[in-house]
Symmetry: C2
Subunit: 211 residues, 2 copies
DNA sequence: TGTCCGATCTGGACAGTGCTTAGATAGAAG
DNA sequence: CTTCTATCTAAGCACTGTCCAGATCGGACA
Protein backbone atom coordinates (compact mmCIF):
# COMPACT_ATOMS: atom_id res chain seq x y z
CA UNK A 1 0.00 0.00 0.00
CA UNK A 2 2.74 2.44 0.92
CA UNK A 3 4.57 2.15 -2.35
CA UNK A 4 4.49 5.93 -2.56
CA UNK A 5 7.07 6.42 0.19
CA UNK A 6 9.80 8.78 -0.89
CA UNK A 7 12.86 6.59 -0.71
CA UNK A 8 11.19 3.22 -0.61
CA UNK A 9 13.87 1.64 -2.75
CA UNK A 10 12.06 -1.63 -3.21
CA UNK A 11 10.00 -1.32 -6.41
CA UNK A 12 10.17 -4.68 -8.09
CA UNK A 13 12.73 -7.26 -7.30
CA UNK A 14 14.97 -4.70 -5.77
CA UNK A 15 16.22 -2.38 -8.45
CA UNK A 16 19.98 -2.53 -8.19
CA UNK A 17 20.72 -4.98 -5.43
CA UNK A 18 24.34 -5.41 -6.40
CA UNK A 19 25.07 -1.78 -5.74
CA UNK A 20 22.93 -1.82 -2.61
CA UNK A 21 24.94 -4.74 -1.22
CA UNK A 22 28.26 -3.02 -1.76
CA UNK A 23 26.94 0.12 -0.10
CA UNK A 24 25.58 -1.91 2.80
CA UNK A 25 28.93 -3.65 3.21
CA UNK A 26 30.80 -0.35 3.36
CA UNK A 27 28.27 0.99 5.83
CA UNK A 28 28.83 -2.00 8.13
CA UNK A 29 32.58 -1.69 7.66
CA UNK A 30 32.64 1.94 8.77
CA UNK A 31 30.21 1.33 11.61
CA UNK A 32 31.37 -1.95 13.15
CA UNK A 33 34.71 -2.81 11.60
CA UNK A 34 35.93 -5.72 9.47
CA UNK A 35 35.15 -8.47 11.97
CA UNK A 36 31.43 -7.68 11.75
CA UNK A 37 31.36 -7.91 7.97
CA UNK A 38 29.55 -11.19 7.39
CA UNK A 39 27.65 -11.91 4.24
CA UNK A 40 24.52 -12.46 6.24
CA UNK A 41 24.95 -9.11 7.99
CA UNK A 42 25.28 -7.41 4.61
CA UNK A 43 22.10 -9.07 3.38
CA UNK A 44 20.37 -8.05 6.61
CA UNK A 45 21.56 -4.46 6.22
CA UNK A 46 20.23 -4.41 2.68
CA UNK A 47 16.94 -5.89 3.84
CA UNK A 48 17.23 -9.05 1.82
CA UNK A 49 17.48 -12.79 2.42
CA UNK A 50 20.85 -14.38 3.23
CA UNK A 51 20.90 -16.18 -0.11
CA UNK A 52 20.14 -13.15 -2.27
CA UNK A 53 23.77 -11.97 -2.63
CA UNK A 54 24.64 -15.20 -4.41
CA UNK A 55 22.74 -14.03 -7.45
CA UNK A 56 25.15 -11.10 -7.83
CA UNK A 57 28.43 -12.42 -6.44
CA UNK A 58 29.98 -15.85 -6.75
CA UNK A 59 30.91 -15.86 -3.08
CA UNK A 60 31.84 -13.58 -0.23
CA UNK A 61 35.26 -12.90 -1.70
CA UNK A 62 33.73 -11.47 -4.85
CA UNK A 63 31.63 -9.08 -2.83
CA UNK A 64 34.73 -7.94 -0.98
CA UNK A 65 36.45 -7.43 -4.32
CA UNK A 66 33.71 -5.03 -5.32
CA UNK A 67 33.98 -3.26 -1.98
CA UNK A 68 37.74 -2.97 -2.36
CA UNK A 69 37.35 -1.54 -5.82
CA UNK A 70 35.22 1.29 -4.46
CA UNK A 71 37.94 1.87 -1.88
CA UNK A 72 40.67 2.13 -4.49
CA UNK A 73 38.67 4.64 -6.46
CA UNK A 74 38.19 6.76 -3.36
CA UNK A 75 41.88 6.52 -2.48
CA UNK A 76 42.87 7.53 -6.00
CA UNK A 77 40.62 10.57 -5.81
CA UNK A 78 42.01 11.54 -2.43
CA UNK A 79 45.56 11.36 -3.71
CA UNK A 80 44.76 13.25 -6.89
CA UNK A 81 43.04 16.01 -4.96
CA UNK A 82 46.28 17.33 -3.48
CA UNK A 83 47.82 17.84 -6.89
CA UNK A 84 46.49 21.35 -7.36
CA UNK A 85 47.06 22.42 -3.79
CA UNK A 86 50.84 22.19 -3.68
CA UNK A 87 52.84 24.85 -5.53
CA UNK A 88 56.28 23.27 -5.75
CA UNK A 89 56.87 19.79 -7.07
CA UNK A 90 59.34 19.23 -4.27
CA UNK A 91 56.62 18.99 -1.65
CA UNK A 92 54.11 17.21 -3.84
CA UNK A 93 55.33 13.69 -3.15
CA UNK A 94 55.19 14.27 0.58
CA UNK A 95 51.64 15.56 0.36
CA UNK A 96 50.57 12.58 -1.71
CA UNK A 97 52.07 10.36 0.98
CA UNK A 98 50.17 12.28 3.63
CA UNK A 99 46.95 11.89 1.65
CA UNK A 100 47.57 8.16 1.40
CA UNK A 101 48.08 7.72 5.14
CA UNK A 102 45.17 10.02 5.88
CA UNK A 103 42.87 7.84 3.82
CA UNK A 104 43.95 4.77 5.75
CA UNK A 105 43.18 6.62 8.98
CA UNK A 106 39.80 7.89 7.84
CA UNK A 107 38.69 4.50 6.50
CA UNK A 108 40.74 1.92 8.39
CA UNK A 109 38.32 -0.95 7.87
CA UNK A 110 37.94 -0.28 4.18
CA UNK A 111 41.69 0.08 3.80
CA UNK A 112 42.18 -3.29 5.44
CA UNK A 113 39.71 -4.98 3.12
CA UNK A 114 41.44 -3.44 0.12
CA UNK A 115 44.66 -5.27 0.91
CA UNK A 116 43.19 -8.40 2.47
CA UNK A 117 41.21 -9.32 -0.62
CA UNK A 118 44.27 -8.75 -2.78
CA UNK A 119 46.40 -10.87 -0.48
CA UNK A 120 44.08 -13.79 -0.88
CA UNK A 121 44.78 -13.69 -4.59
CA UNK A 122 48.54 -13.24 -4.33
CA UNK A 123 48.42 -10.34 -6.75
CA UNK A 124 48.47 -6.60 -6.48
CA UNK A 125 45.05 -5.04 -5.97
CA UNK A 126 43.33 -4.57 -9.30
CA UNK A 127 41.92 -1.16 -8.58
CA UNK A 128 45.34 0.11 -7.59
CA UNK A 129 46.78 0.25 -11.07
CA UNK A 130 43.59 0.89 -12.96
CA UNK A 131 43.78 2.65 -16.28
CA UNK A 132 45.57 5.99 -16.25
CA UNK A 133 44.02 7.32 -13.08
CA UNK A 134 44.98 4.48 -10.76
CA UNK A 135 46.68 5.52 -7.55
CA UNK A 136 49.87 3.70 -8.49
CA UNK A 137 50.06 5.45 -11.85
CA UNK A 138 49.57 8.77 -10.13
CA UNK A 139 52.65 8.22 -8.00
CA UNK A 140 54.73 7.02 -10.90
CA UNK A 141 53.70 9.94 -13.09
CA UNK A 142 54.51 12.32 -10.30
CA UNK A 143 57.99 10.84 -9.99
CA UNK A 144 58.33 11.13 -13.74
CA UNK A 145 57.50 14.82 -13.57
CA UNK A 146 59.73 15.52 -10.61
CA UNK A 147 62.72 13.65 -11.95
CA UNK A 148 64.61 14.96 -14.91
CA UNK A 149 64.22 13.30 -18.32
CA UNK A 150 67.65 11.73 -17.88
CA UNK A 151 66.40 9.43 -15.15
CA UNK A 152 65.73 5.99 -16.69
CA UNK A 153 62.30 4.39 -16.36
CA UNK A 154 63.55 1.55 -14.23
CA UNK A 155 64.59 4.00 -11.55
CA UNK A 156 61.20 5.67 -11.67
CA UNK A 157 59.55 2.30 -11.21
CA UNK A 158 61.93 1.45 -8.38
CA UNK A 159 61.22 4.73 -6.67
CA UNK A 160 57.48 4.22 -7.05
CA UNK A 161 57.67 0.80 -5.47
CA UNK A 162 59.81 2.04 -2.62
CA UNK A 163 57.52 4.98 -1.98
CA UNK A 164 54.46 2.80 -2.06
CA UNK A 165 55.98 0.33 0.37
CA UNK A 166 56.94 3.14 2.73
CA UNK A 167 53.51 4.76 2.62
CA UNK A 168 51.77 1.45 3.12
CA UNK A 169 53.99 0.54 6.03
CA UNK A 170 53.35 3.93 7.56
CA UNK A 171 49.61 3.52 7.07
CA UNK A 172 49.65 0.15 8.80
CA UNK A 173 51.71 1.42 11.69
CA UNK A 174 49.48 4.43 12.17
CA UNK A 175 46.87 2.03 13.49
CA UNK A 176 49.03 1.26 16.51
CA UNK A 177 48.49 4.67 18.03
CA UNK A 178 49.08 3.72 21.65
CA UNK A 179 52.74 3.00 21.13
CA UNK A 180 55.02 5.49 22.84
CA UNK A 181 57.04 6.97 19.99
CA UNK A 182 54.04 6.86 17.69
CA UNK A 183 51.64 8.47 20.13
CA UNK A 184 50.37 11.83 18.89
CA UNK A 185 52.38 11.16 15.79
CA UNK A 186 49.45 10.55 13.52
CA UNK A 187 46.77 12.61 15.17
CA UNK A 188 45.98 16.27 14.72
CA UNK A 189 48.15 17.98 12.16
CA UNK A 190 50.43 15.84 10.08
CA UNK A 191 53.65 17.41 11.29
CA UNK A 192 55.14 14.24 12.69
CA UNK A 193 53.89 12.29 9.72
CA UNK A 194 55.73 14.63 7.39
CA UNK A 195 58.82 14.26 9.54
CA UNK A 196 58.81 10.51 9.14
CA UNK A 197 58.13 10.83 5.44
CA UNK A 198 61.08 13.18 5.10
CA UNK A 199 63.22 10.52 6.73
CA UNK A 200 62.27 8.23 3.88
CA UNK A 201 64.43 9.35 1.01
CA UNK A 202 61.81 8.50 -1.55
CA UNK A 203 59.73 11.48 -0.70
CA UNK A 204 62.53 13.89 -1.51
CA UNK A 205 62.78 14.20 -5.30
CA UNK A 206 66.53 14.76 -5.20
CA UNK A 207 66.87 11.16 -4.04
CA UNK A 208 64.98 9.68 -6.93
CA UNK A 209 68.22 8.64 -8.53
CA UNK A 210 70.66 7.61 -5.82
CA UNK A 211 74.20 6.98 -6.89
CA UNK B 1 49.28 -50.48 26.96
CA UNK B 2 51.69 -48.84 24.58
CA UNK B 3 52.72 -46.15 27.02
CA UNK B 4 56.30 -47.06 26.24
CA UNK B 5 56.22 -45.50 22.76
CA UNK B 6 59.12 -43.16 22.25
CA UNK B 7 57.37 -39.88 21.55
CA UNK B 8 53.92 -40.77 22.82
CA UNK B 9 53.38 -37.34 24.33
CA UNK B 10 50.18 -38.23 26.11
CA UNK B 11 51.23 -39.39 29.57
CA UNK B 12 48.65 -38.05 31.99
CA UNK B 13 46.12 -35.52 30.98
CA UNK B 14 48.28 -34.39 28.16
CA UNK B 15 51.52 -33.15 29.61
CA UNK B 16 51.92 -29.66 28.25
CA UNK B 17 48.85 -29.05 26.15
CA UNK B 18 49.33 -25.31 25.99
CA UNK B 19 52.62 -25.71 24.21
CA UNK B 20 51.22 -28.48 22.05
CA UNK B 21 48.38 -26.24 20.92
CA UNK B 22 50.69 -23.41 19.92
CA UNK B 23 52.84 -25.86 17.98
CA UNK B 24 49.78 -27.33 16.29
CA UNK B 25 48.57 -23.87 15.34
CA UNK B 26 51.89 -22.98 13.74
CA UNK B 27 51.92 -26.30 11.92
CA UNK B 28 48.49 -25.60 10.46
CA UNK B 29 49.53 -22.07 9.60
CA UNK B 30 52.56 -23.20 7.62
CA UNK B 31 50.67 -26.04 5.96
CA UNK B 32 47.30 -24.49 5.07
CA UNK B 33 47.53 -20.77 5.68
CA UNK B 34 45.74 -18.37 8.00
CA UNK B 35 42.22 -19.03 6.71
CA UNK B 36 42.42 -22.65 7.85
CA UNK B 37 43.45 -21.74 11.37
CA UNK B 38 40.29 -22.44 13.35
CA UNK B 39 40.35 -23.25 17.01
CA UNK B 40 38.68 -26.54 16.32
CA UNK B 41 41.27 -27.41 13.70
CA UNK B 42 44.02 -26.70 16.20
CA UNK B 43 42.36 -28.97 18.75
CA UNK B 44 41.97 -31.64 16.09
CA UNK B 45 45.64 -31.34 15.11
CA UNK B 46 46.63 -31.69 18.74
CA UNK B 47 44.35 -34.71 19.12
CA UNK B 48 42.13 -33.16 21.72
CA UNK B 49 38.49 -32.13 22.11
CA UNK B 50 37.27 -28.79 20.70
CA UNK B 51 36.72 -27.38 24.18
CA UNK B 52 40.10 -28.33 25.59
CA UNK B 53 41.91 -25.16 24.46
CA UNK B 54 39.64 -23.07 26.65
CA UNK B 55 41.39 -24.37 29.74
CA UNK B 56 44.63 -22.80 28.55
CA UNK B 57 43.49 -19.72 26.60
CA UNK B 58 40.65 -17.33 27.32
CA UNK B 59 39.61 -17.35 23.70
CA UNK B 60 40.95 -17.76 20.19
CA UNK B 61 42.62 -14.38 20.29
CA UNK B 62 44.73 -15.37 23.24
CA UNK B 63 45.96 -18.46 21.43
CA UNK B 64 46.89 -16.32 18.45
CA UNK B 65 48.74 -13.99 20.79
CA UNK B 66 50.85 -16.91 21.96
CA UNK B 67 51.47 -17.95 18.36
CA UNK B 68 52.45 -14.40 17.45
CA UNK B 69 54.86 -14.26 20.35
CA UNK B 70 56.71 -17.28 19.04
CA UNK B 71 56.85 -15.53 15.69
CA UNK B 72 58.37 -12.38 17.14
CA UNK B 73 61.02 -14.37 18.90
CA UNK B 74 61.93 -16.13 15.68
CA UNK B 75 62.01 -12.84 13.78
CA UNK B 76 64.24 -11.28 16.41
CA UNK B 77 66.64 -14.18 16.16
CA UNK B 78 66.68 -13.97 12.39
CA UNK B 79 67.51 -10.29 12.48
CA UNK B 80 70.17 -10.71 15.14
CA UNK B 81 71.85 -13.48 13.22
CA UNK B 82 73.14 -11.15 10.49
CA UNK B 83 74.95 -8.98 13.00
CA UNK B 84 78.14 -10.95 12.95
CA UNK B 85 78.11 -11.58 9.23
CA UNK B 86 78.48 -8.01 7.98
CA UNK B 87 81.86 -6.33 8.36
CA UNK B 88 80.98 -2.66 7.88
CA UNK B 89 78.24 -0.94 9.80
CA UNK B 90 77.20 0.80 6.61
CA UNK B 91 75.71 -2.35 5.15
CA UNK B 92 74.38 -3.71 8.41
CA UNK B 93 71.07 -1.88 8.30
CA UNK B 94 70.40 -3.09 4.79
CA UNK B 95 71.10 -6.68 5.78
CA UNK B 96 68.81 -6.42 8.78
CA UNK B 97 66.12 -5.15 6.43
CA UNK B 98 66.75 -8.08 4.10
CA UNK B 99 66.52 -10.48 7.02
CA UNK B 100 63.21 -8.92 8.03
CA UNK B 101 61.69 -9.29 4.56
CA UNK B 102 63.12 -12.77 4.22
CA UNK B 103 61.39 -13.86 7.39
CA UNK B 104 58.07 -12.57 6.07
CA UNK B 105 58.65 -14.56 2.90
CA UNK B 106 59.63 -17.75 4.68
CA UNK B 107 56.72 -17.61 7.13
CA UNK B 108 54.03 -15.53 5.41
CA UNK B 109 51.13 -16.93 7.40
CA UNK B 110 52.88 -16.53 10.73
CA UNK B 111 53.94 -13.02 9.78
CA UNK B 112 50.34 -12.11 9.03
CA UNK B 113 49.13 -13.43 12.37
CA UNK B 114 51.84 -11.45 14.15
CA UNK B 115 50.39 -8.17 12.92
CA UNK B 116 46.73 -9.18 12.83
CA UNK B 117 46.55 -10.05 16.50
CA UNK B 118 48.24 -6.76 17.36
CA UNK B 119 45.80 -4.78 15.23
CA UNK B 120 42.86 -5.98 17.27
CA UNK B 121 44.43 -4.39 20.31
CA UNK B 122 45.37 -1.04 18.75
CA UNK B 123 48.85 -1.30 20.18
CA UNK B 124 52.17 -2.34 18.79
CA UNK B 125 52.87 -6.07 18.94
CA UNK B 126 54.11 -6.98 22.39
CA UNK B 127 56.83 -9.33 21.29
CA UNK B 128 58.22 -6.73 18.96
CA UNK B 129 59.72 -4.52 21.63
CA UNK B 130 60.40 -7.17 24.21
CA UNK B 131 63.10 -6.58 26.77
CA UNK B 132 66.50 -5.74 25.33
CA UNK B 133 66.48 -8.32 22.59
CA UNK B 134 63.25 -7.32 20.88
CA UNK B 135 63.47 -6.83 17.15
CA UNK B 136 62.58 -3.17 17.45
CA UNK B 137 65.30 -2.54 20.00
CA UNK B 138 67.78 -4.24 17.73
CA UNK B 139 67.07 -1.79 14.95
CA UNK B 140 67.21 1.20 17.27
CA UNK B 141 70.46 0.09 18.83
CA UNK B 142 71.94 -0.45 15.41
CA UNK B 143 70.99 3.07 14.40
CA UNK B 144 72.50 4.29 17.65
CA UNK B 145 75.77 2.57 16.82
CA UNK B 146 75.83 3.73 13.23
CA UNK B 147 74.99 7.34 13.96
CA UNK B 148 77.44 9.57 15.75
CA UNK B 149 76.92 10.49 19.40
CA UNK B 150 75.84 13.96 18.31
CA UNK B 151 72.61 12.65 16.81
CA UNK B 152 69.80 13.21 19.32
CA UNK B 153 67.67 10.34 20.53
CA UNK B 154 64.52 11.65 18.91
CA UNK B 155 66.11 11.32 15.50
CA UNK B 156 67.20 7.80 16.26
CA UNK B 157 63.64 6.94 17.21
CA UNK B 158 62.32 8.65 14.12
CA UNK B 159 64.72 6.75 11.92
CA UNK B 160 63.78 3.47 13.59
CA UNK B 161 60.09 4.07 12.98
CA UNK B 162 60.69 5.06 9.38
CA UNK B 163 62.88 2.02 8.75
CA UNK B 164 60.38 -0.28 10.38
CA UNK B 165 57.54 1.11 8.31
CA UNK B 166 59.54 0.73 5.14
CA UNK B 167 60.56 -2.84 5.90
CA UNK B 168 57.03 -3.79 6.85
CA UNK B 169 55.62 -2.22 3.71
CA UNK B 170 58.22 -4.04 1.67
CA UNK B 171 57.39 -7.32 3.40
CA UNK B 172 53.71 -6.90 2.66
CA UNK B 173 54.33 -6.03 -0.97
CA UNK B 174 56.63 -8.97 -1.45
CA UNK B 175 53.56 -11.16 -1.19
CA UNK B 176 52.19 -9.72 -4.40
CA UNK B 177 54.79 -11.43 -6.51
CA UNK B 178 52.73 -11.60 -9.69
CA UNK B 179 52.87 -7.88 -10.28
CA UNK B 180 55.01 -6.86 -13.20
CA UNK B 181 57.65 -4.60 -11.66
CA UNK B 182 57.80 -6.74 -8.56
CA UNK B 183 58.13 -10.01 -10.39
CA UNK B 184 61.45 -11.71 -9.77
CA UNK B 185 62.17 -8.86 -7.42
CA UNK B 186 61.90 -10.84 -4.25
CA UNK B 187 62.87 -14.27 -5.42
CA UNK B 188 66.29 -15.81 -5.70
CA UNK B 189 69.07 -13.54 -4.51
CA UNK B 190 68.10 -10.37 -2.77
CA UNK B 191 69.64 -8.03 -5.31
CA UNK B 192 66.46 -6.24 -6.23
CA UNK B 193 65.40 -6.17 -2.62
CA UNK B 194 68.62 -4.41 -1.70
CA UNK B 195 68.07 -1.96 -4.54
CA UNK B 196 64.69 -0.96 -3.20
CA UNK B 197 66.05 -0.75 0.30
CA UNK B 198 68.80 1.54 -0.91
CA UNK B 199 66.14 3.77 -2.42
CA UNK B 200 64.73 4.14 1.06
CA UNK B 201 67.13 6.56 2.68
CA UNK B 202 66.75 4.99 6.07
CA UNK B 203 68.94 2.10 5.23
CA UNK B 204 71.87 4.32 4.45
CA UNK B 205 73.40 5.48 7.71
CA UNK B 206 74.45 8.84 6.30
CA UNK B 207 70.78 9.72 6.05
CA UNK B 208 70.02 9.06 9.67
CA UNK B 209 70.01 12.76 10.35
CA UNK B 210 68.59 14.60 7.34
CA UNK B 211 68.90 18.34 7.31
C1' DT C 1 -3.52 -8.29 -24.82
C1' DG C 2 -2.12 -12.57 -22.85
C1' DT C 3 1.32 -16.07 -22.00
C1' DC C 4 5.43 -17.74 -21.06
C1' DC C 5 10.55 -17.27 -19.87
C1' DG C 6 14.36 -16.18 -17.29
C1' DA C 7 16.34 -13.40 -13.98
C1' DT C 8 15.70 -12.46 -9.18
C1' DC C 9 14.62 -13.46 -4.56
C1' DT C 10 12.98 -16.57 -0.38
C1' DG C 11 12.88 -20.46 3.04
C1' DG C 12 15.05 -24.09 4.56
C1' DA C 13 18.85 -26.88 5.13
C1' DC C 14 23.87 -28.47 5.80
C1' DA C 15 28.48 -28.40 7.65
C1' DG C 16 31.62 -25.73 10.09
C1' DT C 17 32.79 -22.04 13.52
C1' DG C 18 33.63 -19.76 18.52
C1' DC C 19 32.18 -20.42 22.90
C1' DT C 20 29.53 -22.12 27.26
C1' DT C 21 27.98 -25.33 30.60
C1' DA C 22 27.63 -29.74 33.06
C1' DG C 23 29.83 -33.72 33.95
C1' DA C 24 33.79 -37.29 33.64
C1' DT C 25 38.74 -38.38 34.71
C1' DA C 26 42.97 -38.74 36.74
C1' DG C 27 47.37 -36.82 39.29
C1' DA C 28 48.48 -35.16 43.65
C1' DA C 29 47.68 -34.19 48.48
C1' DG C 30 45.67 -35.53 52.84
C1' DC D 1 42.58 -44.97 50.40
C1' DT D 2 39.98 -40.97 50.13
C1' DT D 3 39.44 -36.36 48.60
C1' DC D 4 40.52 -32.28 46.00
C1' DT D 5 41.59 -29.77 41.99
C1' DA D 6 43.18 -29.13 37.47
C1' DT D 7 42.28 -31.00 33.20
C1' DC D 8 39.59 -32.80 29.64
C1' DT D 9 35.06 -34.42 27.15
C1' DA D 10 30.14 -34.29 25.43
C1' DA D 11 26.53 -31.81 24.20
C1' DG D 12 24.56 -27.77 22.82
C1' DC D 13 23.83 -22.62 21.38
C1' DA D 14 24.05 -18.95 18.09
C1' DC D 15 26.35 -17.78 14.22
C1' DT D 16 28.67 -18.26 9.68
C1' DG D 17 29.23 -19.39 4.28
C1' DT D 18 26.97 -21.90 0.90
C1' DC D 19 23.65 -24.66 -1.68
C1' DC D 20 19.01 -26.07 -3.26
C1' DA D 21 13.94 -26.25 -4.44
C1' DG D 22 10.49 -23.34 -5.12
C1' DA D 23 8.03 -18.72 -5.29
C1' DT D 24 7.80 -14.22 -7.67
C1' DC D 25 7.85 -10.82 -11.01
C1' DG D 26 9.65 -7.88 -15.26
C1' DG D 27 10.04 -8.08 -19.94
C1' DA D 28 9.81 -10.44 -24.47
C1' DC D 29 7.20 -12.62 -27.70
C1' DA D 30 2.64 -14.22 -29.55
Amino acid sequence: MSTAAVADIRPYHHGDLRRALVDAAIRILEREGPSALSLRAVAREAGVSPAAPYHHFKDKGELLDAVAHVGWEALGEGMSAVQGEVPDLSGLMTEIGVAYVRFSQDHPALYRVMYDTARDKDSLPEGMQDKEDGAYCLVRNTFRSVAGPDVPDVDIELATIAAWCAAHGLAEMSGFAQFGPLKDAFGGDAGFLRAVLSHLGMFQPKLVKPT
